[in-house]
């Protein structure tokens, strides 16, 4: 598995698509922060908040995350890299584990600009606001408005950011079985984006249906896992990490179940 991971990392390093995606998230993170800065300054209208949300991490990752899965998994079917791995004695479990690990690293890399920009923006002590719509790093950015951070808060900020990245990785781990089964980038991206919209809509039911709220809290799409801030308690952060890890494990199990005996064409 170690060799497979290194090979995937080598391939990723050579991938133009990954560089483009990183460029897109960097530009988007900057636009998101600038708009969240300009809205409370009343230099742009509040109505621009919807547009600003389009550049936020939660929206970008729901599209680009699935693209990353396509680059790492679907492309390897096209280029027969997975064929070679299996034909030369790598177990299918090792292939899945390697893909999942590299996929997680790649997601962390494309989310890094959001983490860095959020950290820098918060460090300025300025006020940021994107209206009512905010999740993930945008929520973290807008929830700590207009106050300088203390040293312990910086460490907490790092912990929250890492947890948020983990939550995103868990949410997008659904793409691993999708990509292994469907093997078509366009299907993976479309299905995951549709699913992310659906989970967003279903989140509105959580207040009306407590049972649904409790069930969804067992997944990285539910609970308050996308609303982590510097005020979030350690217990909630640990819960977010635990739920994310469990969900990733479940997705890996589903992937293994579907790929273990599948013909690779």
């Amino acid at each position: 598995m170690y060799n497979l991971m290194w090979a995937d990392m080598f391939q990723l390093r050579k991938s133009v698509m990954m560089k483009v995606l990183l460029g897109i998230t960097t530009v988007s993170a900057v636009i998101m922060a600038v708009m969240a800065y300009l809205i409370p300054q009343e230099k742009i209208a509040d109505s621009m908040a919807g547009l600003g949300f389009m550049f936020s991490d939660v929206n970008m990752t729901s599209i680009l995350g699935a693209v990353v899965a396509s680059v790492i998994i679907c492309s390897d079917f096209d280029h027969k890299v997975i064929h070679h791995a299996v034909a030369t004695g790598h177990s299918r479990g090792a292939v899945i584990a390697s893909k999942a690990a590299v996929f997680s690293c790649a997601l962390a890399v494309i989310l890094l600009p959001y983490a860095v920009i959020t950290g820098i923006a918060l460090g300025t002590g300025s006020e940021f606001n994107m209206g009512a719509v905010s999740l993930g790093f945008l929520h973290l950015l807008t929830s700590k408005a207009g106050a300088a951070m203390s040293a312990p808060e910086v460490w907490k900020l790092l912990a929250v950011m890492l947890t948020l990245i983990m939550v995103y990785v868990a949410q997008l781990s659904l793409c691993v079985p999708l990509a292994l089964v469907l093997r078509r980038p366009v299907l993976v991206v479309a299905i995951y984006y549709g699913f992310s919209i659906l989970t967003g809509q279903l989140a509105g039911l959580r207040e009306s249906y407590p049972l649904f709220d409790r069930i969804s809290a067992w997944t990285p799409y539910g609970g308050n896992y996308s609303f982590l801030t510097l005020d979030t308690g350690a217990g909630e952060i640990l819960e977010a990490i635990a739920v994310s890890l469990l969900f990733v494990a479940a997705m890996l199990a589903v992937s293994y179940g579907s790929f273990r005996k599948a013909d690779i064409k």
């Binding site: 391939q11 991938s15 690779i264």
Partner: protein, 306 residues
């Protein structure tokens, strides 16, 4: 000779359609096996089963003396394969593609990349991306990738597709050299039967998912050997005339009572005259001799399949 692979009654069914039926073959070390069959005959399916890309519906496979899924997976580390078409990452150069697979196989040192590129004639490709390669260059790179780690069993599906005549000769010589020097076992499929005739040491003829025949080059040459085919109602008498009057024992009486005479190929008239003078009623006398192509066609059922 070491048994490298043994397939026992392998059957593969896709959506109710049987692609392979009760296929049993044995491959021994240091031999080049030519897998011959029409499109859809089951050549690629057999290769996919051997490499673990697909699972048999029934039957069993033994690799390097080991059976069972876990053992097979471990033994596949000793295999190099190029199936259907070479799998290349298009935005990478030839060297980068080789490096990717070298890292994947855990082979240390980058020297092997240059050696293999030189071996397949791609040493001068430099920064040219694989997507800009010709089909022949892609095939060469696919062969180089399959050769990484000096596999003991090399599986090549249509490796000379798209190669220019010089490339075909180079690949042929390379495979023969690997077989002789490293005792590498090679399973190769090709539609280019004259080429396969010059490359392989053994032949496996597959048709409609079933193995029709396995034979060595010597057996093939024996069966394709040029001869005079003689038919008559009295083959025993014919045999004695050939021995007594034409002084030859270089003939065979076939199961269908036809006689194949391997002498007097350029003196058919004399044979005919002697037989007639000896009172033999000759119903058929002709010069015969098969190429691998003819032999393949006759084995799978004659011209109706062509």
């Amino acid at each position: 000779m070491q048994r490298i692979l043994h397939a026992d009654r392998l059957t593969k069914t896709y959506s109710g359609v049987q692609s392979l039926h009760d296929v049993s073959i044995t491959l021994e070390s240091g031999r080049i096996y030519g897998l011959i069959g029409q499109n859809g005959a089951g050549k690629t399916t057999l290769m996919r089963l051997i490499t673990g890309l697909a699972f048999p519906t029934s039957g069993s496979l033994e690799l390097f003396g080991h059976t069972g899924e876990n053992a097979l997976q471990i033994e596949r580390k000793r295999i190099g394969a190029m199936i259907e078409n070479p799998g290349l990452v298009p935005h990478m150069t030839a060297a980068e593609n080789l490096r990717l697979h070298r890292i994947m196989r855990g082979i240390p040192g980058s020297d092997v990349e240059g050696e293999l590129l030189g071996l397949v004639g791609l040493a001068e490709t430099g920064k040219k991306k694989a997507k800009d390669f010709s089909l022949g260059m892609k095939q060469r790179l696919g062969i180089a990738i399959a050769l990484l780690g000096s596999p003991e069993l090399l599986i090549l599906d249509e490796p000379i597709n798209g190669l220019d005549p010089l490339g075909v000769v180079e690949v042929r010589n390379l495979l023969k050299r690997l077989c002789e020097e490293q005792q590498m076992t090679i399973l190769i499929s090709s539609h280019n039967l004259p080429e396969l005739y010059q490359t392989a040491t053994d032949y496996i003829i597959i048709h409609k998912g079933e193995i029709m025949q396995t034979l060595t080059l010597a057996q093939l040459e024996e069966r394709c050997k040029h001869h005079l085919l003689i038919r008559c109602p009295q083959p025993e008498k014919l045999a004695s005339v050939l021995e007594m009057k034409l002084n030859t024992k270089n003939f065979k009486v076939m199961p269908d009572q036809a006689v194949k005479l391997y002498d007097y190929l350029d003196d058919k008239e004399r044979v005919a005259r002697v037989l007639v003078e000896s009172g033999i009623i000759v119903t058929h006398l002709s010069s015969e001799g098969d190429s691998l192509e003819d032999y393949f066609i006759s084995t799978i059922g004659g011209g109706q399949h062509v």
